[in-house]
Each structure stands twice: as C-alpha cells, then as structure tokens.
C-alpha cells in the first residue's frame, strides 16, 4: 500500500459506449432471430418474428389495455417487495440476534428458498380467495427466504475489526447494530432483496397466469389461449420492463443509503 490517493476507476461522464454496445447486442440478436425465423430454421408457430412482436405492441396497448395490466403487476410487485424487505430483514436480524432461532430455522428457510412455491397456489386461493392478495402473498412468501438468508449472511460477514471499533467506543447493542452491523451488511442485504424480488416477480406473474386474474400474467394466458403469439411475446416484454424498473429503483435506493462501497 502507498500513501498516494488512488484514482477511483469510474467511467467518464457522457461515455455512452457501454450502453450503445448493449443496445447494439440486443438489436443484433433480434435481427438474427428474424433471419432464422424467416429462413425457417426456427418455427414461426413457436417463436414469432421480432418484427411481428414489435407490430403487436400497438395492438396490445390499444386493445388489451396493457398499461393497466402493467400497473397492476407492478403494484403487486411493489407491495410484495416492501413486505419481503421489511419481514426478510427483520427475520434475518432476529435470527442473527437469537442463536437458537437461527439454529432452529435457517435450514428450513434455505429449503423453502429452493422449493417451487408456485405449486402451493391452491392453498393460497383457499386462504385469501381469488384476488390480488393471493398474488401478493405468493410473491412475498417466495421472495422472503433469500431476503432473510442474505441479511444473516451480511451481518455475520461484518469485519471483526469494525465490530471492535464499535466496542472500543463503548457502543450499546442497539448502537452497534444501527451504526456498524446494519450499514456494513447493507450491500449483502440488497443482494437478498434483489433475489427476493426476482422470486417474487416470477411467482406473481406465474400465479396471475395460473389463476387467470390481475395483471400481465393473466393477459399472457388470454393471449396464449387465443394463440396470439406475437401479442404474448409483446406482453412478456412488459414483464421484463417491470423487472428492469424495479432493479433500477433498487439501485437508486442502495446508492442513496450507501453512496460508495
């Protein structure tokens, strides 16, 4: 180590090259798919040409009111995301705090994380009814385990020297948690919340699809049953858009809470 300040490697402002390359990759992929479908190498009755999908956007926006569906799914995701963050972080903190709870529960929480919870939708239908609450709860429950597990991992991974700094300043248990353990664990907690959101979105759209209720998942069922392949793929693009928006928002929140790592 030297005493000279190290320049932080940051992409210069206004450098759009990575974005342009990223966009160009997508365009190239779409053009390749279009070519393979038009030459018959990919069956157009399984995958519609991207040009038809792009054309279908206008139709699903005007005729299928996709923005309303989009907002419904996004709202369900938002509520599930807030719940899994609150309960996941609190659960992780409690399991870190109480060793017995951790020893008793961590294994089965990890097992739940790996289980295909979507198959439990009939149970949720019975408990909550065929409504948005079932969908939100499916998303919440499936996203909860990674959020809990990553919170525990983040807190345990806090460098011992930082804990000792806190001890040397005579911090109380609460101060130690608020001022050191929690901020130190924040990047790992966010990994858990991101994973939780992925699980939640999959299960929310999956449940909408299965119970044919609510937002984008239900629309995808409708379009698929009508064999409107182009429309189905266009609707799937909106599911991806929900995911992208949530990830961007989460990144902003993380940067706000912890400006630099």
């Amino acid at each position: 180590m030297t005493d000279a300040a190290l320049p932080t490697p940051r992409p210069p402002r206004g450098n759009f090259a990575p974005r342009v390359v990223g966009l160009a990759t997508i365009v190239a992929g779409l053009l390749l798919a279009e070519l393979l479908i038009r030459t018959g190498l990919i069956n157009r009755f399984i995958v519609p040409p991207p040009s038809e999908v792009i054309e279908a956007f206008r139709r699903i926006i005007v005729e299928e009111h996709i923005f309303g569906r989009f907002l419904t799914t996004a709202a369900e995701c938002l509520v599930a995301g807030i719940l899994l963050t609150l309960f996941g972080v609190a659960g992780g903190v409690l399991m870190h705090r109480f060793k017995l709870l951790q020893q008793a529960c961590e294994t089965w929480v990890a097992s739940v994380a790996a289980a295909p919870l979507v198959i439990m939708y009939p149970l949720f239908l019975v408990v909550f009814g065929r409504n948005a609450l079932t969908i939100i709860m499916m998303g919440f429950i499936s996203g909860l385990p990674p959020s809990i597990l990553k919170t525990i991992e983040g807190i345990f991974a806090t460098r011992k020297v930082l804990v000792n700094v806190g001890r040397s300043f005579n911090l109380t248990g609460t101060q130690q948690f608020r001022k050191i353990l929690f901020p130190a664990a924040l990047p790992t907690i966010f990994v858990g919340v991101r994973l939780g959101l992925i699980f939640a979105l999959i299960n929310i759209v999956g449940t909408e699809f299965l119970i044919n209720y609510g937002g984008l998942g239900a629309l995808i069922t409708d379009l698929a049953e009508r064999y409107d392949l182009a429309g189905t793929y266009a609707a799937i693009c909106f599911v991806i858009l929900v995911s992208v928006l949530f990830f961007l928002a989460l990144e902003k929140v993380e940067r706000w809470l912890r400006p630099v790592d």
């Binding site: 180590m1 005493d3 932080t8 460098r159 020297v161 000792n164 001022k179 050191i180």
Partner: protein, 275 residues
C-alpha cells in the same frame, strides 16, 4: 515510577487460552506504567502476545488476570479514556472522511454543525485537508489509517493505544506516517502506547521501549530512548539511533529465533501428524 505518577498501570497481566492442544499462556506477569504525555512502545517477536496485550488494555478481552487502571481507576472493559487504533484497516466504507472522523462525536450527541467543525480540525491535524468528502474506497491505505487515527483522536482519549497501525504500509509511507504521529503526539502531548514489531518505528517514536519475550510474553527489558525531541524520520540516520536499534535487536534476536524454531517444530509436528 510511583503508581501515582502514572496515567496507565498494567499490573501482573496474564492471559491463558484453551486450545485443541491444551492451554496456552499468551501473556504472563506483564507489569508496566505509562506517564502522562509519554510515548511507550511494546515490541516483541510474532507470537509474543502483543496484540493480546493490546486487547486487554483496550478492554476488548475480559478473561485475563491482573489489573489495568487508568488514572487510578481500575478498568474492566472498553473505557472512554483509551482510544484504540487497529492494525487492520478500520474506517467505515459507507461514511466519508468527515463522517468517519465525526463518529465518536455523533455518539456523544454533539450537534451536526459542531461535530463537523471538530472533525475538520482533526482531519487537518492528520494532514488530510481537501479529502473531507472522499470515501475510504477513494483513499490509499496510509490515508485510511490517518482517517482511523483522526477518528480516535476526535474522541479525545487520555491514552492513544495503537496496534501496529502501519504494519500494512510500505517502508517510506511508514516512516512518513511515523513523522505525522510524532508531530501530533508532541503537539497534543498525547500519552501513547504503541504495539509494534518494527524496531525502527519503535526507536523513532518512543520515550521508552518495553521488549517482550517470545511465548509466554513477559517483560524482558524496558529501554529508555534518550534521543532529542522534537524528532522526525531524519533521526534514523543518526549514530545514536543505530545504537538503539542494534541494542534492541540484540534483545529481540534470541526471542525471534526461539519463535521461529517453535513455529518450525509446530509445522513439522502438524505435517507429521497429517502425513
């Protein structure tokens, strides 16, 4: 030195650990006193229990025998009179330099404006003006250690306790940071206890050096360093400095050799057992 003259007294400190191979005595019967404003270094070979002693004095290790007292008050746990600077990098990466340094002031509930002003004073003291809004990730290792030092100084401890704070730095940075610590210590008349294995560093900065034996760590000798003050890193070229380094190395060589032999036989034993 009478106990009444001392700001810090360590009396018959002993620490034993239970290991898989049986109990190990890390530190045994270590006693010394530190005068107000004095710079005392504790030096010894690897494995002599220096860091254990650091943890005992800092109150981070409670299962020890003997007594540590500050200003006549017996302590058993972290104490506001003792400010610790750790060997490992210990800045908070999520706080900028100002907020890192202001950390202890925040804990005592000082209003934000006032604590920022105080933090800037200590940032200037360690020579980091202009870096107030930088984050540790944007600083070099030496600068981060200076942030840690400023943070500890901001709590205005009676005793500054440092555990090999420059161990991870290169030699030139280490010498220059030594200058900075000396300058601050002389300016604040800060009582300082430095744990180190670096002879040059110890002689450059100390009024007295406590030489420890290899395991179990005991006090082998206490050497008075009669070099003129104020000092800087330039002193390392003087003849008297060289004599002190040679004298302490003579004391340490036997202990370091013993430590090396012990580690070798330990490694052989483990290799033999594992083979």
């Amino acid at each position: 030195m009478a106990a009444a003259d001392a700001i810090l007294v360590a009396d018959k400190i002993a620490v034993r650990f239970e290991t898989a191979e049986g109990p190990v005595t890390a530190v045994d019967d270590v006693s010394f006193k530190v005068r107000p404003g004095e710079f005392l270094s504790v030096i010894g070979p690897s494995g002599c229990g220096k860091s254990t002693l650091f943890n005992v004095i800092g109150g981070l290790l409670s299962h020890h025998q003997g007594v540590v007292s500050v200003g006549g008050e017996m302590i058993n746990g972290p104490h506001k009179s003792i400010g610790m600077v750790f060997q490992e990098e210990s800045t908070f990466p999520w706080r900028n330099v100002t907020d890192n340094v202001a950390f202890p002031l925040e804990l005592v509930g000082m209003p934000r404006d006032k604590r920022i002003e105080r933090a800037r004073h200590f940032i200037a003291l360690v020579g980091l003006d202009g870096f107030e809004n930088r984050y540790p990730g944007e600083l070099s290792g030496g600068m981060r250690q200076r942030v840690s030092l400023a943070r500890t100084l901001a709590s205005e401890p009676k005793i500054l306790l440092m555990d090999e704070p420059f161990a991870a730095l290169d030699e030139q940075t280490r010498l220059l940071l030594g200058d900075k610590v000396l300058q601050i210590q002389q300016q604040l008349k800060q009582t300082t206890l430095l744990i180190t294995h670096n002879i040059t560093e110890a002689v450059q900065m100390s009024d007295r050096i406590l030489v420890m034996t290899y395991r179990p760590g005991k006090v082998k000798r206490i050497v008075d360093i009669d070099l003129p003050r104020p000092r800087s890193s330039e002193i390392v070229t003087s003849e008297a400095f060289g004599r002190y380094v040679a004298q302490i190395w003579n004391d340490l060589r036997e202990e370091a050799s013993r430590g090396m032999r012990d580690e070798e036989s330990h490694a052989l034993h483990h290799h033999g057992a594992g083979a």
